[in-house]
């Protein structure tokens, strides 16, 4: 389609941009092996000390666990509420329908700090009313709020490509609502749920701004990193190791999720 010269040019530019994305990651990996406490360049001496220290550090373990719990909770809530809203908007016409998608995207579109201080004052209010306390629950509350739109968008987009006749056919054959949902609807939106759920998990995992305002004294991984990274003597080396480990560990689920969405996408389009 494009001329040969254009293709070469675009390819080169694309590869350069891709390389740009990885520059800091290479630095992180290099410094995970840095033996001295100062982050100066070039690295004076190499060591595996930070790896063993990270392995034994209780604060790291607590932070990883807290982040895992928060991300899982937020993703589950986002999946439920996001798909519910998507179905409602897709199937029914009602007053305020357009406003729903606008309202759902607000938590992500508005600056994180605005969402953060709004939720913090709401939690304070809830504390006065019924004793709500800052903690893991409020972290999940905050994360779920901006994760809902990620699931919603994916499911709505997918639903638009699904035909209503399949559902009708299923009902004609005598299936009840749950059976129709489980055997007809769910498979067709599965890729959207996986894609939305993965995005929601990733966003919650790395979120710091809203979390700062809703966490109280719970430490999720980003909060731990923010404290540790400013401590050259004991924190920074750990941070580089943890960041590298998380990146490598996340490679597998992300890869499989992508394969899953690709496969079923191919299947889905032929069925209609």
């Amino acid at each position: 389609m494009e001329s040969k010269a254009t293709r070469v040019l675009v390819r080169t530019a694309a590869m350069l941009v891709l390389a740009f994305l990885y520059i800091p990651l290479i630095i992180i990996v290099l410094y995970a092996f840095n033996g001295s406490i100062s982050q100066s360049w070039p690295i004076q001496h190499w060591s595996l000390e930070w790896f063993s220290r990270a392995w034994h550090d209780q604060a790291v373990r607590d932070a990883l666990l807290a982040s895992l719990k928060a991300a899982t909770g937020a993703t589950v809530i986002a999946l439920l509420l996001g798909s519910a809203a998507a179905f409602a908007v897709h199937r029914f016409k009602f007053f305020g329908r357009d406003a729903v998608s606008f309202a759902l995207v607000l938590p992500i579109a508005l600056p994180g700090i605005v969402t953060g201080i709004a939720l913090a004052s709401a939690i304070n209010y809830g504390g006065d009313l019924f004793g709500m306390q800052f903690g893991l629950f409020t972290v999940i509350l905050g994360h779920a709020t901006f994760c809902i739109v990620l699931v919603y968008n994916n499911v709505v987009a997918r639903l638009r490509r699904t035909s209503l006749s399949l559902v009708e056919a299923s009902q004609d054959l005598g299936a009840d609502g749950w059976q129709t949902f489980r055997f007809v609807v769910l498979p067709s939106i599965r890729t959207a749920l996986v894609a939305g759920g993965l995005l929601a998990f990733a966003l919650s995992w790395d979120e710091i701004v809203v979390t700062t305002f809703t966490a109280g004294n719970v430490q999720t991984l980003p909060l731990w990193i923010y404290g540790a990274i400013r401590n050259p003597q004991s924190g920074r080396g750990l941070v580089n190791v943890v960041a590298m480990a998380v990146m490598l560990a996340s490679f597998i689920p992300v890869y499989f999720a992508q394969r899953l969405t690709r496969q079923t996408d191919a299947m889905g389009t032929t069925g209609l």
Partner: protein, 315 residues
């Protein structure tokens, strides 16, 4: 899997089907489904109430409360918020030049980061969407997304190591004979870091939009005699526009509210820093809310325009 209802006897023999002798009583689930079937509004309510309560009451409610507090003030002695409606916070913003400087600086940066990111993102998005072999596409997409899985803080801090005095960049340029550039802690550093951090968020919507363009359209354009450049300008670009706008929402909004990158690699203040400092250290939440109205108002306008351009489909 499917429980069949009673079938006509004639059809039975004809198709080799056996007829059930007694009618089944509908299961509970079937009764519930039947009950809901004729009442679409109930179904709607059940689906919609939980998300509405969540977003509507908790989020929008607290947002409204926040912006109401922009009109209140803090009592200087006790430090508590006084519900004294007035424009005192806005007057402070209007009268003090520092708040104008910071706001304009942040908006300028948001625009610059958006433009630069679109220019960087487009070649990569176009390459993956239309030039790369189908087998390598998922690999490259994976490579684009992977950096998002290593903490945003750590990547920003890595840039600090690169850009600081005698850091990696200075070392590299010295080796090349160019001497130390010395970006250090500065607005330039903040610009680079912002452009870097939001880049994947800009690439993905553009990719999605470009990928959806059917090749047949481009072939038709060629058949009608258009040169490559014209096809690009008049077919590809307009179809990619919603994706570009969607990507720009991310880079613009994220820059407008961020305070972490400026505090890690910068020296000057941005809107996010002013809001954070006032909410926390300065204990002046009403003023923070008033100042936060600036990026909120800007984004409200931006989102409305973006929606009209169809960007919401691409998010």
């Amino acid at each position: 899997m499917h429980r069949l209802l009673g079938v006509d006897a004639e059809v039975d023999r004809d198709q080799g089907l056996t007829k059930r002798t007694e009618p089944r009583t509908p299961t509970r689930r079937l009764q519930l489904s039947a009950a809901l079937h004729g009442r679409p509004r109930l179904k709607l309510a059940l689906l919609l109430v939980p998300p509405i309560v969540w977003i509507g009451v908790i989020y929008l409610g607290s947002l409204t409360l926040l912006f109401a507090s922009a009109f209140w003030r803090v009592d200087e002695l006790s430090g508590t918020i006084v519900h004294d409606w007035g424009l005192q916070n806005f007057r402070t913003i209007w009268e003090n030049e520092i708040y104008h400087t910071v706001a304009f600086r942040t908006i300028k940066f948001a625009a610059a980061v958006t433009v630069i990111d679109i220019m960087l993102a487009f070649p990569l998005a176009y390459y993956v969407a239309r030039i790369a072999r189908p087998k390598s596409r998922p690999v490259i997409l994976l490579l684009i997304v992977m950096p998002l899985w290593s903490s945003y803080l750590v990547r920003a801090f890595a840039w600090r190591t690169i850009l600081s005095h005698n850091g990696v960049l200075d070392w590299a340029t010295s080796k090349l004979g160019l001497g130390a550039i010395g970006i250090g802690y500065s607005d330039t550093a903040v610009l680079i870091v912002f452009c870097y951090l939001w880049l994947p968020f800009v690439i993905l919507p553009i990719y999605t939009a470009l990928e959806r363009i059917p090749s047949s359209l481009l072939e038709a354009s060629q058949d009608l005699g258009a040169k490559n450049a014209t096809t690009f300008r008049r077919v590809v670009l307009p179809l990619a526009k919603p994706g570009i706008v969607a990507g720009s929402i991310f880079s613009f909004a994220l820059t407008l509210g961020d305070y972490i990158a400026p505090s890690l690699v910068g020296k000057t203040q941005f809107i996010g820093n002013i809001v954070k400092d006032n909410v926390g250290a300065a204990n002046n939440a009403p003023f923070a809310a008033a100042y936060a109205l600036i990026p909120v108002a800007i984004m409200a306008v931006y989102l409305t325009v973006a929606r009209r351009m169809g960007a919401f489909e691409e998010l």
